[in-house]
């Protein structure tokens, strides 16, 4: 793989997963707040569809980011952590991205499933 392409994959792997999780998190939690408030509750939000879509889309982007990180990691296998840039830096960020994206994926799955299962506006 060319350095340019690796660089792109590295930044995509590092940044896309986190930003996607945060966007999906704000959208998902925001929709649930809208669902359960007096005015917005009457807008007829298709709640389960929205949450399933966020799970599908968000999960897909995070998986892609994870794949990109793994690809960069494999391409820079022989490089040590402190080697000179760009290879050292590519390798370094790829390791971080692999862990980060795994964590983001787990959050997305856990919260999306739970919000659909626990779909109650009042906890009594």
């Amino acid at each position: 793989m060319s350095l340019r392409r690796l660089a792109f994959l590295q930044w995509f792997g590092l940044l896309a997963g986190g930003l996607t999780w945060f966007a999906a998190f704000l959208a998902g939690a925001g929709t649930s707040v809208a669902l359960c408030n007096p005015a917005s509750g009457r807008w007829g939000i298709p709640y389960d569809t929205v949450q399933a879509a966020l799970l599908g889309l968000g999960g897909a982007v995070v998986l892609l980011a994870e794949a990109a990180a793994v690809a960069v990691f494999r391409a820079t296998r022989t490089v040590a952590e402190q080697d000179p840039p760009p290879e050292g830096r590519l390798h370094f960020f790829a390791i971080g991205a692999m862990v980060g994206n795994l964590v983001f994926l787990v959050i997305i799955v856990l919260s999306a499933v739970a919000t659909i299962v626990d779909r109650a506006c009042h906890q009594a």
């Binding site: 862990v99 795994l102 964590v103 787990v106 856990l110 739970a114 299962v117 626990d118 109650a120 009042h122 906890q123 009594a124």
Partner: protein
Amino acid sequence: MPRAGLVTLTAAALVVAGCGSKQDALSPESGASRGIATLWWKMLVGSALGLGIVALILLAAWIRRNRAGVPGVREGDRVALGVVIGLGIVVPIAVLSGLFVFGNVFLIRKTTMPTAAAAVRDRPELTVRVVGHQFWWEVRYPGTPAVTANEIHIPVRTNVRVLVSTDDVIHSFWVPELNRKIDMIPEQTNQVLLYADRPGRYRGQCAEFCGLQHAHMGLYVFADPPAVFRRWLDGQSKPAPAAGSRLFVDKCGSCHTIRGTPATSRVGPDLTHVGSRTSLAALTIPNTPARLREWLRDPQRVKPGNQMPRVELTDAQIRRLVAYLEARR
């Protein structure tokens, strides 16, 4: 009076038995609290394990302290990296996902009202409305005229739906032996399930900082056998004899209610049956004539910062008021 006496007697017996004055989340008296307490013990064991592993690694390092070796610099080895990945990433993700699912999908159902269908099959229901005030609890029983304060009576082994709201700032309704806490928020009515396995008196306390006397905002929940509860509720629903005390109306009527008399203000607690309560000022003092006298003389000395102003009363007036109030049973 016998029914109120019975309740007081039960309470007194409990105090003597020594299980009255506590609000212990680890002595659960309901399925909900038991579920939470059981989870706590499990998490405690897990935590001890986790702490133990880290402590062992550090202890081993301490045993190896000051050992000889190349004082230079060595790269990381694979085993240590494996420990970080295994114990630092894989195991915690698995354990925490498990805790998340158990706590927030399964346990949470135990702490909430059963669904309507299950309730019909299962157990009777009752609704109580509790309104938080600085610094006391107003208790109402929808469908009856009964209004009381700081002491909630519920039938035992019944799902009681407590609707909570607030008249002023945010409070939090919490009786740990029966269930989790729930905040009283100005803009919405929240609800919490109360259920008691056994008859008894359960202490609760305001858990959200609500001002100067947040510390003295306690409450009791009395879980009574259904028949006793029914009699108590009937008694509380009755108004006082119409021939009220003019002194009370003059001096206290601008804030308090005694149903059946011209005193109807809802600023302070409803005192129609104040004599049947075991405590005063949200559990700040026991309800005895001596302490009530002290309270009437200067409420700000007993509970500084509470909302009841000092009312100018002569000793004779205080004696008459105390006699009148203690008779409201």
